[in-house]
Assembly symmetry: C2
Homo-oligomer: 369 residues x 2
């Protein structure tokens, strides 16, 4: 039925061991023998049995890429870029040799699924795992993740974080590429402030996510520096619940999607009709925010400015083009892929912060009057 190594060996008149060595190329084999084996492989249309190979060698050629939402281009772009560094035949030769199978796993932002995928990957003895996007800031989950990742690392799986801050306890990981969400958020709001905005609404992402928190912290830093913070860090008039921004009337939380952007914006406009600018958690949310603003009969940016985050491809095509913070997703994804493959050395200290660049476009302008 299926062709095995032994069949190839028989046809090439060598031992199975030799065929294996030809295929793996890590042991001297005479050129003539190699040729004979290769021909036999072609003749028989032999395809290596991955599980058998992985079992014997105790490693596999699987690399997992975990994403929160594959329907979101933010993740699609990073994952695609990572995959180009991992899966590619590259050499153009039809032979499927050497490359790994990069697999994208969609967690849907669910901690359980994240853990489940990690287990599945552990089962497969994955060669590496790339974790993208923000993490959930739940202590129990973080501990579970740290434990799971430690186990994976023990088993020889390389771990790479991409666009995600490293876990506090993690020392087993190869590398972490973290986006400067805080700095980007700060510069974005500084830009708005410099335009003259004083009442700035913020449509934030879901609570308990690092990305959400960091961007919001950057925003508040800028506000505070300008003396505009509604809830002073030092426990202002509101209940002194520390850094907790939950009570800020100018901040509304919701998922990272268009619909949430729309609805949260409506809510924000209801709460504070005097805002002159709205910062969205990301570009997708910003699109929803724009729609809401327009549906309320206001113009962008004349009546109200709107800004996003990420600079996804469609942002430049929005009308007016969206002011946002550009994150080098392709570069980061590709680098993560290379790190996962061990093709590149991890950054010093294991962590690299990736700069975010402010992109000023038409959706922000000075407030009226």
């Amino acid at each position: 039925m299926t062709v095995t190594l032994a069949d190839v060996a028989a046809r090439a008149r060598v031992s199975p061991a030799t065929v294996s060595r030809v295929l793996n190329g890590n042991y001297p084999v005479a050129a003539s023998t190699r040729e004979r084996v290769l021909r036999a492989v072609d003749d028989l249309d032999y395809v290596l049995n991955g599980p058998a190979s992985s079992l014997a060698a105790a490693t596999s050629d699987l690399v997992g890429i975990l994403v929160n939402d594959i329907a979101d281009p933010f993740f699609g772009i990073m994952a695609g870029a990572a995959q180009t560094q991992i899966g590619g035949p590259g050499d153009g030769s039809g032979r499927a040799g050497g490359e790994k199978l990069a697999v994208i796993c969609n967690t849907g932002g669910s901690p359980e699924r994240e853990l489940t995928y990690l287990t599945l990957l552990q089962r497969q003895r994955a060669a590496a795992v790339v974790l993208t996007g923000g993490a959930v800031e739940n202590p129990a989950h973080q501990a579970a993740m740290a434990a799971k990742l430690a186990k994976l690392a023990d088993a020889g799986t390389r771990i790479v974080f991409c666009g995600r801050p490293p876990l506090p306890e993690s020392d087993a990981l190869v590398a972490a590429l973290a986006f400067d969400n805080r700095g980007g958020g700060r510069r974005l709001t500084e830009h708005l402030i410099s335009l003259g905005h004083r009442r700035i609404g913020y449509v934030a992402g879901p609570r308990e996510r690092t990305t959400t928190r960091h961007r919001l912290e950057g925003h508040r830093e800028a506000l505070r520096a300008a003396g505009l913070d509604v809830l002073p860090a030092g426990g202002g008039p509101a209940a002194g619940s520390g850094e907790q921004a939950a009570d800020d009337p100018l901040v509304v939380h919701g998922p990272y999607d268009r619909r949430s952007g729309y609805e949260s914006t409506l809510e924000l406009l209801r709460r504070a009709p005097d805002v002159t600018a709205i910062v969205a958690a990301n570009d997708t949310v910003a699109l929803g925010a724009c729609a809401a603003v327009r549906d309320q009969g206001m113009r962008i940016p004349q009546d109200i400015s709107v800004a996003g985050f990420d600079d996804l491809p469609f942002s430049v095509d929005a009308v007016p083009a969206l002011t946002t913070v550009r994150l080098p997703l392709v570069e980061a994804g590709a680098r993560a892929g290379r790190l996962a493959m061990g093709k590149e050395n991890p950054p010093p200290g294991g962590i690299a912060t990736i700069a975010a660049e402010l992109m000023i476009r038409g959706s922000t302008a000075a407030p009226r009057g």
Copy 2:
């Protein structure tokens, strides 16, 4: 070092066979024994060795999803939907049992990579493969694909096409879900014609792709029915190269991306400044087309109408909202996932055509005058 089945067996004081049967749950095991085994599994934090298991059982729990471009939400949405039917723990129990590992493979639209991924998946003895998106219409490649798929099917891998027409020779596949690209394209152009447009430009996708051809064929059907076809089917004034639309000055081909939409539109406008409407290969291309139209100082839809295809989430947020053809990507992806899991019966005849719905929005209007 690593915990094996035998370790669990020893701790539970049963044979490895029994542990295996408890874990696979396809053989009667006394409740008390099962409990003991399960506790041992938990105690030892045992994780099944996937390769070993796949080797012994001659099957794996991998399901491959091939996409052309994961950075494109069109594919991201379908893949994500498929994955929800495949990978999900669903039951909420932490135990990773029963579910498969859905892996998304990004071919980048390259035939070679497509084949390579199929080989990789074949290596892993994948349980199923879902192929999404249009196929390349190259005879050699199609033959290679058919051969490869036949081999996969022989090995017990289920094959599902999603948003992709079945290969002519394929009989081994489980099911094909094809979008009605032709019908959608036809209705879209009919809509434009009914508005009064007579000179309609078409920014098409890459040649040699089924999706491109079908959408364009629908467009030409509508034109022909209205007596507007530039190159009559029956071999008009142009060289009688059959259905070949290559010579139509109102059609420009390019990749399915925003940039191509922009540039092709500029080219189109140069060639035929009198067009009053532009149909784009898909929504992403349409966005580029809109930008180009605007940069030429024209307004949408007053000066020129623009239409897309797919109805991706951002299309409704374009300004003006994009008239397009809605493809039920989530439903199709989910169904493909179910078919891959064998949770759903294949459609009669193995092929189901999925309807495309015309979405009329603000980007199309009657031509001036």
